[in-house]
């Protein structure tokens, strides 16, 4: 569904992504893990058309996304849940959700939008309770739910999530992850960027490990979860010397 080949992204002279090739198949959940500054968020932003300078190839459903504006990419079926949620704090929950379907109003998909709104409020019952409340007054977990709900209102076929667990209490992280599993079960294709590598790999099908803008490891999520290098670097195990314990 999504295919990246030799993606290179630049911020001025700095190359943030250094030739990444990766793919997400329909119905799959793929996790992208790596340290701060590895280029994970830049990669998602490039897919969404938010990075002005990039080389290589980004294809969504076999069509190149080169020269497409972010709104056109959303129209094609790609939605991003950005890092830090980026809600509109003074606006109500309902207004934020409706804004997610902004491009669809022009296409007069009113009935379908109402249907999707109902579906989002069923997925996140707490949002139904707070539908008139200002988004800025919600708790962190509720804001994350709203950000995901807003992305879903565009009726994407590919959902990109940037650090959805950031700043959330463990039980809320689990709640968000459960929602992602539900979405995947319903057939949604997901590319998930997470610093909480263990959580991401536990629910994903496959994963890529990004280091300094390059993929250094890829494979089934279960294999990455068991990989000693990944454990040391991203799952909280201390790094030790090359032959420690082996004389």
């Amino acid at each position: 569904m999504l295919r990246l080949r030799n993606l290179k992204c630049y911020y001025g002279r700095i190359r943030a992504i250094n030739g990444v090739t990766l793919s997400v198949r329909p119905g799959e959940m793929v996790a992208l893990i790596g340290a701060n500054g590895a280029g994970k968020s830049t990669l998602l932003q490039a897919v969404c058309g938010l990075v002005p300078h990039w080389d290589g190839e980004i294809r969504f459903e076999k069509q190149s996304l080169k020269h497409f504006k972010p709104q056109n990419i959303v129209q094609k079926g790609v939605s991003l849940v950005p890092e830090g949620r980026l809600l509109f704090p003074p606006m109500s929950v309902l207004e934020n959700l409706k804004l997610g379907a902004y491009l669809r109003y022009r296409r007069r998909e009113h009935a379908a939008i109402a249907e999707d709104l109902e579906s989002v409020l069923t997925l996140f019952p707490v949002l139904r309770e707070r539908v008139k409340q200002a988004a800025g007054t919600l708790s962190g977990g509720e804001q994350q739910m709203l950000a995901i709900g807003r992305a879903l209102m565009a009726r994407p076929r590919l959902l990109l999530l940037d650090e959805p667990s950031m700043g959330l209490a463990p039980f809320l992280v689990q709640l968000i992850l459960d929602v992602l599993v539900q979405l995947r079960t319903r057939g949604m294709t997901i590319l998930l960027v997470e610093q909480n590598a263990r959580a991401a790999l536990q629910i994903a099908d496959r994963g890529y490990v990004l280091e300094n803008g390059s993929v250094v490891l890829e494979g089934a999520a279960g294999d990455l979860l068991a990989d000693q290098d990944v454990k040391r670097a991203y799952l909280g195990k201390d790094y030790r010397e090359f032959d420690e314990g082996r004389g």
């Binding site: 080949r5 250094n18 390059s214 993929v215 490891l217 890829e218 990989d227 030790r240 010397e241 082996r246």
Partner: protein, 429 residues
């Protein structure tokens, strides 16, 4: 049609290209980051691994050769910390140092799967009894075949070094249905059967998996007729990293390379340039998923030809014809690879000097292949006591057998009795 992993084995060609490129870039990044040998080689040849943007670009990356295994003995080519390695294999090298390869837990899972895949393609299932009869030099493969067969829940009789008569007894009494062996050992088995007047109908054997050396069509046909079996050929690397990385399907027109785990190139062995598809050349392999011991453009020395077009079996894994000739000085004796240089170094260790003139022969006694080495008697070797010279020959033979993993016979020849001029070994026809 038996497939262990239909999704991977029949992957759409475009997806295969994407998968291979993803894995190739990742293994190049890992090798550059974790293995000083590769980092230095890339820098020496001015290769920027981030510029490998197409599979064809791999042709700009320098080769890895067997000599590099010796130069980086023992752990210099490992890409993970030693404590992540759960198995260490040793195989004869081309110098005195053996070739050492390592496996992480994940690597072992991959190998088990690869062997299981190739066994399933040969029709093996949980109802089969699989016997492994390989020489000591292929002991590593014995373990891999055991693990792979156990994965598909076949009953395994693991590799044990037994006299051929005992192997035959087990084959008959345990009702072995599948035998993994070399063509030479299989021929020896047939001879044993004739000697003991054993009718092949008394055996439950139906599948013969031939490894280690490419068998002639005539040898296959003969074995199939004599043993009443169907033969299958598997290709692997006996030094690193394992067996069955290419295997025959029921169509039996070439061997499918497990391209989800290896990238295969065929090159002109003199120029090092890839040859057009369908032309003969040397097989060069790059591992795509190995964690502990990645190999980048490893020159196998095996001569192959890539078969263009698709296979009627439905697998999209490309096929190779495995040809007899080699592109290097390695001799293959009952599947075990022996390098003349290695043999000379062993002789130097035993004698204290390298004999001036020698000739290698790959001989056949009955059905058994062995290595015979003729040495020209020179002053330093000469003794007026025959017993003394016999002792030296015996010691040399024993040391060589231990090092090389094949049967060795030594002969001393007087100067002038033989023209010691050929560098290549002479093989009995």
């Amino acid at each position: 049609m038996a497939l262990r992993d239909p999704r991977e084995e029949c992957l759409d060609l475009e997806e295969r290209g994407q998968q291979q490129l993803e894995r190739l870039q990742s293994v190049l990044n890992r090798a550059f980051k974790n293995v000083p040998f590769y980092r230095n080689r890339f820098q020496e040849f001015s290769v920027d691994q981030s510029r490998i943007e197409r599979l064809e670009d791999l042709a700009t990356v320098p080769f890895t050769e067997r000599v590099h295994f010796s130069e980086n003995y023992p752990y210099g080519l490992f890409a993970v910390p030693l404590r992540d390695v759960v198995r260490i294999h040793t195989a004869p090298g081309i110098y005195l140092q053996p070739t050492v390869s390592g496996y992480t837990k994940h690597d072992l899972v991959v190998w088990r799967e690869l062997v299981a895949r190739s066994l399933v393609a040969a029709g093996l299932s949980s109802v089969d009894i699989l016997q492994i009869d390989l020489d000591a030099g292929l002991a590593n493969w014995g373990r891999e075949y055991k693990d792979g067969a156990e994965l598909i829940e076949a009953s395994v009789i693991p590799l044990t070094l037994l006299h051929p008569e005992k192997q035959l007894m087990i084959l008959r009494d345990y009702r072995t249905s599948t035998l993994v062996t070399t063509a030479s050992a299989a021929r020896q088995l047939v001879q044993g059967m004739y000697r003991s007047s054993l009718n092949p109908n008394a055996l439950a054997l139906k599948t013969l998996i031939l490894v280690g050396e490419p068998p002639d069509d005539s040898v296959r046909a003969q074995l199939e007729e004599q043993l009443h079996v169907k033969t299958w050929v598997h290709y692997g690397l006996s030094d690193v990293p394992g067996p069955a990385l290419a295997f025959e399907c029921e169509v039996r027109n070439g061997l499918h390379v497990s391209e989800d785990h290896f990238f295969a190139e065929v090159i002109d062995s003199t120029s090092g340039v890839p040859v057009p598809e369908g032309e003969e050349g040397e097989l060069v392999l790059t591992t795509l998923t190995t964690r502990a011991f990645p190999l980048i453009r490893f020159r196998t020395g095996d001569r192959v030809r890539l078969i263009p077009g698709s296979c009627p079996c439905g697998r999209t894994l490309r096929r190779i014809h495995w040809l007899h000739q080699r592109t290097d000085e390695l001799m293959v004796i009952r599947g075990v690879k022996v390098h003349q240089r290695h043999a000379l170094m062993v002789m130097e260790r035993v004698l204290g000097f390298v004999p001036e003139r020698q000739q290698f022969f790959i001989r056949r006694s009955g059905m058994r292949d062995y290595l015979e080495i003729w040495l020209q008697v020179e002053e330093r070797l000469f003794s007026d006591e025959i017993k003394q010279m016999e002792k030296v020959a015996q010691r040399l033979g024993m040391e060589l057998e231990q090092e090389l993993g094949v049967t060795v016979r030594m002969r001393f020849k007087e100067a002038g009795s033989f023209e010691f001029s050929r560098l290549e070994p002479i093989r009995d026809e």
